[in-house]
Amino acid sequence: MKLLMTMPAEGIWPENSAFYADLKTSFPEVDIKVVDTVEDQMKEIKDANAYFGWITRDVFLAADRLQWIHCPGVGIDRLVEIPELVESDVVLTNSPGPHVNVMADHVMGMVVALAHRFGEAWDDQRARRWGGSNYTARFAELTGRTMGILALGQIGMAVAVRAHAFNMDVYGVDLHPKPPTPVVKEVWGLERLDELMSISDWFVVAVPYTAETDKMIDAGRFAHLKEGAHVIVISRGGIVDEDAMIEGLRSGRIAGAGLDVADVEPLPVDSPLWDLNTIISPHSSASSPEMYEGRQQLFKENLRRFLVNEPFVRVCDKRAGF
């Protein structure tokens, strides 16, 4: 059994070397190859049975014996863009669990930072300026306000738990409507998305990027958003029509936005989003050591199961795209 591992595409973590060493010790029967360049991957994939990382189409097509791909992240949109992978029998797994808490924290971080104007406060601090009365009555309220969440998967639900602790009224839409929970007042089907936007003071996009959600939040949809609402995008940039969002931010219809993802990443230097009332983070919402540790442990568990033919922790639905 041969396992091909690649370093994460960016943000190389020193923990990785320890992780690879640990895997080699824990699974001596597995031939583990750690490679970096696509060139080396093309060579080593030929007889590999399993792959850890974000595989490219060329590398995938060069594989003869591949049975399993494990994606270290949550979104598999780039992987299911490879039609041959979707058509194949290769099983795709991902790592949602370890990302949940830190991403939900990031969403609430953006919410409270926008609400209490922390971008401005940091500019003041940099200038050694005591802003004092500049902030008078300019914070946005959370208590009793409505948060609408697009998709109540694990991350959406974790956001809901936090928002509920801030006395917010939480509503959501999901592909699979479910009964209300102690923290979510109502969960509707996707067909009620417009209605959700119309009641939302805070609208959170946490849905996977699929053919169905591509540009789902377009100008027509933004027209339904409650006047003066804030928007948070945590899953994928392609779900939101950025031009429409920019227009909304400029007109004031949208009071502010927290964006961890962009349609084009890195966000182009000349994007107007940088200078509007936004907080932008570079697709980094899950940057905690616990997440890295958690996803390593998850992979280890999946590898153990693969070797003894047990079902994986969670298998992706390649056609659904998540």
């Binding site: 924290d105 209490h116 500019d123 601090q125 902030y135 914070f139 990443e265 983070s281 980094s284 940057s287």
Partner: protein, 318 residues
């Protein structure tokens, strides 16, 4: 005829009150001279009196403070000794103050200063966490100094993040749902030793002034964070700076400082692991409206001789 003085920019509020309470005089004092003159024959006031004006006030029976903290009372011993009732606005302020605490905590935990600097430079890559990864809140311990209205609201939010919450208070009751422990002040050192996040919501009193000194900061876990939301001078600022510089503490967030505005030469401004806000934590429109509603309600009670809400203990100082 009954007379109520409002200090500050409160003409619209005075108009509302005149409409509601016909036959009562409402006057607005916008400076100290006006206050001295108006308060002399006033029955009640909304604001805070100068010592001179308070002493000259012959009929004053009630002061409604628009804010929460009443630590200035130490400069008004005559008020403490008098029969004048003091009420504040702690209820309406607690919610935005607790939200502010989490804006500060998540700014530190998710490296907001780095993000904003990168954003101002339009530099995507510079915002990456890199060598300063985020700090997960789930499963960490939050210690809260004083579990009053603000402390309780902070605790409720903390539980939503999976933090384990402990607190000390002058009058420890049974802990609210989800709070793992509520102890008396005598266990403050123990609380410090177990806290990853230590939040100061206590009022500034003789007892709390300088309470979190260098020794106590030293008890905090290596890599802990300190958040101060109530008043400066409870945490010793010099000692805090020392513990931040040594790396013993990972960061601090302060909405309040020993001297406000924070002097321009304070090292706190430029510390990369310090997040400051200018005593603004309760600045939400609802809280301000709530403070005015609170005053209106207390005014009705005052006129009907009913019990006030949010009465302060003048001797205790909160």
């Amino acid at each position: 005829m009954m007379k109520i003085v409002l200090t500050g920019d409160h003409e619209p509020l005075a108009d509302e009150l005149r409409a509601e309470h016909v036959g009562i005089t409402f006057t607005v004092a916008t400076n100290q001279a006006e206050q001295l003159e108006q308060l002399a024959d006033a029955d009640a006031m909304y604001g805070w009196p100068t010592r001179e004006a308070f002493i000259a006030a012959e009929k004053l029976r009630w002061i409604q403070r628009p804010g929460t903290g009443i630590n200035q009372i130490v400069d008004l011993p005559e008020l403490v000794d008098s029969d004048v009732v003091l009420t504040n606005s702690r209820g309406p302020h607690a919610l935005p103050m607790a939200n502010h605490v989490f804006a500060m905590i998540l700014s530190l935990a998710h490296r907001l200063p780095r993000l904003i600097d990168a954003q101002r430079a339009h530099d995507w890559q510079a915002g990456k966490a890199g060598s300063s990864p985020f700090v997960d809140l789930d499963g960490r311990v939050m210690g809260i100094l004083a579990l009053g209205d603000v402390g309780k609201a902070v605790a409720q939010r903390a539980i939503g993040f999976g933090l384990e919450v402990y607190a000390v208070d002058k009058d420890p009751e049974s802990p609210p749902p989800g709070v793992s422990g509520l102890w008396g002040l005598e266990r403050l050192d123990e609380l410090l030793e177990m806290s990853d996040w230590f939040v100061v919501t206590a009022p500034l009193t003789a007892e709390t002034r300088g309470l979190i000194d260098s020794r106590r900061l030293g008890l905090l876990k290596q890599g802990a964070y300190v958040v101060a939301i109530s008043r400066g001078n409870i945490v010793d600022e010099e000692a805090l700076i020392k513990h931040l510089r040594s790396g013993h503490l990972a960061g601090a967030a302060l909405d309040v400082t020993a001297v406000e505005p924070l002097p321009v030469e304070s090292p706190l401004w430029d510390m990369e692991n310090v997040v400051l806000s200018p005593h603004t934590s309760a600045n939400s429109p609802d809280a301000r409206a709530g403070g005015r509603e609170n005053f209106k309600e207390n005014l009705r009670r005052f006129l009907a001789n009913k019990q006030f809400i949010y009465v302060c203990d003048k001797r205790a100082g909160f």
